[in-house]
């Protein structure tokens, strides 16, 4: 019995071995690799990718990058996207090939026959390696660092041969940065103090320190982050610590397509949280909710504008952050795009 069982299993193993031994042979090189390299590209992670022809087909699995491609007027090259890449509206008709960078669907990606895959740092290294071995480079980018966005726009303008549009976007972003910085400067001259801010990042009491690029949003909009000096990038703060720091403003960043009512519910939760009732932010009701999408690539000025308007209410009395956001969306994605969106971006 024992010998027979062993023999049986060895046959199974041998059969499997025979099958995959066949697979050891490399597939024929994709036709593109026969050509000479046309150009190389260094992504945000520092990895170098070689391209053998112009990029015509793109799979993008990050909503910030897909928005960037749309702003660069390259949407027609997108042949696959992640589930969250639904803004601007032109992307909604594109085929979904995965949930996000963290959960791509390799069969669907490969079936889309892309020249390149664009993702964020959540994309698994071994999966990227596998795609690269099949002749599809994976470009990894950080999409929520406002200080690196213009450089990202310029690089992708070069990559996709749309330098002119990239320069237009950078000029618009420069102008927006100057406008926001100017307003903050005015506020300081007028005697408005920089507020102390507790920034709650997606989860209760989860914040952001200097080690995270999200901190830049608070710094650039003139706030003082209570968690700036924490040792880890996304610290979970204790209610005692928050009460001790006594923030003037609390901002909660939320993910997903939320309505104003849902955002109001999130705000009420913070206002009624026993641990935070002793803070100035709660007693003066300076608690705000903002959509995470505004922190992605080219949309960052909207996040800065909302923040600054909450931090310096006197100076921003005559400024409308929603109008600013509308201006940005219509410039980046075309006139009328703002009207097509039925979303709440911030509350109240």
């Amino acid at each position: 019995m024992k010998k027979r069982t062993i023999l049986l299993l060895l046959i199974v193993l041998a059969a499997a071995s025979g099958l995959y031994a066949g697979g050891q042979t490399e597939n024929p090189e994709p036709a593109s690799k026969i050509d000479k390299p046309l150009f190389t590209f260094i992504d945000g992670k520092g990895n170098e990718s070689v391209f053998y022809h112009e990029i015509e087909r793109i799979v993008v699995v990050n909503s910030g990058l897909s928005a960037l491609l749309a702003a660069l007027q390259q949407s027609d090259k997108i042949v696959g996207r992640d589930m969250f890449s639904s803004f601007p509206s032109s992307l909604r008709t594109k085929k979904v090939v995965g949930k996000s960078s963290a959960y791509p669907n390799l069969e669907l990606i490969l079936g889309s026959k892309p020249d390149v895959v664009m993702a964020d740092a959540m994309f698994d290294d071994s999966v990227a390696e596998k795609l690269a071995a099949l002749g599809i480079p994976v470009l990894i980018e950080s999409t929520s660092n406002p200080l690196k966005t213009k450089e990202l726009v310029t690089r992708y303008g070069d990559l996709l041969d749309c330098e002119e549009r990239a320069a237009e976007i950078c000029a618009w972003l420069d102008e927006a940065d100057s406008r926001i910085a100017g307003l903050i400067e005015t506020a300081r001259v007028n005697g408005e103090n920089a507020p102390v801010v507790f920034f709650e990042n997606r989860k209760n009491y989860k914040s952001t320190s200097k080690k995270s690029s999200t901190h830049q949003y608070l710094e650039l909009s003139g706030g003082v982050n209570i968690a700036a000096d924490e040792k880890v990038s996304s610290p979970t703060l204790s209610p005692e610590f928050i009460v001790e720091k006594n923030p003037n403003v609390i901002i909660r960043r939320v993910s997903g397509d939320l309505t104003a009512d849902t955002m109001a519910g999130v705000r009420d939760n913070i206002l009624n949280r026993p641990g935070l009732s002793a803070t100035q932010a709660v007693s003066t009701e300076r608690v705000f909710v903002i959509k995470a999408d505004l922190f992605m690539t080219i949309r960052y000025p909207s996040a800065l504008f909302y923040h600054a308007s909450w931090f310096y209410p006197e100076t921003f009395r005559n400024e409308d952050p929603e109008e600013f956001n509308k201006e940005l969306i219509n410039f980046m994605f075309g006139d009328g795009e703002f009207e097509k969106t039925n979303e709440a971006f911030a509350y109240p």
Partner: protein, 360 residues
């Protein structure tokens, strides 16, 4: 009367033997059917005939071949290694689970009882968050660091558990408690690393801990096959000793079986194969626990049959789970650990209920 006893006994033995052979044959057919189902099912739009053409074309196609290059790549580079790995990985976990339950004489034992999954998770997290590992000297590739770290820490925890157990003559209870202690220790280490991680790193840790066969390569498959080809016959050699050991250590000793040798060798073999699997596929839960239990309900506790049958049923369960995970919510792909747990938990509960009934 005496004349009738022997033939009746022989008849029953033959009947039992036929039944066991039939069961192995059915499981083998189940494996083949699962293989075919899994290879022909996927999120890519490839018809049955197209898949057959791709398989028939072999791993290499000439330019100008009527077979679509993309579909061929999907089948040969993505789906086929993945399906084979799911069969092999399920077999390894089922085999290791049956072996661990055998030496620990505990129905709740699994390949992870000695803390391997937690240690592997810690090793992988260490590579993801701090970018440090034992392979740093040889390679800077992140995924190689993760694989080598998880394997190293799995073997390390096995060494620690065996050292602790040695002080108590490798008593099963000591091994289990030492394993659980290590599990808590390394889980705490992983939690700490998760706290230190950035959001991107955290997502990678969670993805790894849930287990995935997404990025399986032919090379990985070869390595795991070698592990299995070495470990399986060795465990089979120990199967009769495991049967004797189940009667108690004193009985085993009186029959010439060295309990310590059997326990340590079995633990080593089962853990090494588990460590290899976890390093490449992450932590895939419940297969190693459930597969041996299902088989035990059908064939009883004879390890000569239990070990191969557990391996076969493990491979069927995992391959089916993976096929469900990658197709049920297309284009989304569910973490395989979610599906194995959904299948595993009801079985686990039914086992608990059965045990309670028995005690009454």
């Amino acid at each position: 009367m005496k004349k009738q006893t022997k033939p009746l006994h022989t008849h029953k033995w033959r009947q039992g033997r036929r039944k066991n052979i039939l069961l192995l044959f059915v499981l083998l057919c189940g494996m083949a059917a699962t293989f075919l189902l899994s290879v022909f099912t996927g999120s890519a739009e490839a018809g049955l005939s197209e898949v057959v053409r791709c398989l028939a074309a072999g791993p290499e196609i000439e330019s100008g071949s009527p077979v679509d290059y993309t579909t061929h790549t999907i089948i040969w580079s993505l789906r086929l290694p993945r399906v084979l790995m799911s069969l092999l990985c399920g077999a390894g976990l089922g085999l290791a689970g049956a072996a661990m339950q055998g030496i620990l004489r505990n129905p709740l034992a699994s390949p992870y009882t000695l803390g391997i999954s937690s240690a592997a998770g810690f090793g992988a997290s260490l590579a993801i968050v701090l970018d440090v590992g034992i392979a740093s000297v040889f390679s800077t590739a992140g995924y190689l660091l993760i694989i080598s770290n998880s394997f190293f820490f799995s073997i390390l925890v096995l060494g620690i558990v065996l050292l602790i157990s040695r002080t108590k003559s490798y008593r099963p209870s000591t091994m289990i408690l030492a394993g659980i202690s290590m599990m808590y220790l390394f889980s705490a280490g992983t939690s700490l690393l998760q706290y230190l991680a950035t959001n991107d790193q955290l997502a990678k840790i969670v993805f790894w801990l849930m287990g995935s066969l997404m990025s399986v390569t032919w090379k990985q498959l070869t390595i795991i096959s070698v592990f299995m080809a070495v470990v399986f016959p060795l465990l089979m050699r120990l199967s009769w000793s495991l049967n004797i050991l189940s009667c108690g250590e004193e009985v085993a000793q009186s029959l010439g079986v060295h309990p310590r040798f059997v326990m340590v060798s079995t633990a080593l073999l089962a853990s090494v194969v588990t460590a290899g699997l976890v390093s490449f596929c992450g932590v895939i839960g419940f297969i190693g626990l459930v597969a041996p239990h299902i088989v035990r309900m059908m064939v009883g506790g004879d390890h000569r049959l239990l070990l191969p049958a557990s391996a076969m049923s493990g491979s069927v369960i995992l391959a089916l789970s993976d096929t469900i995970a990658r197709t049920v919510l297309t284009p989304m792909e569910l973490p395989i650990g979610v599906i194995t747990s959904f299948i595993g938990v009801p079985f686990f509960i039914s086992i608990l209920i059965r045990r309670k009934g028995t005690s009454h």
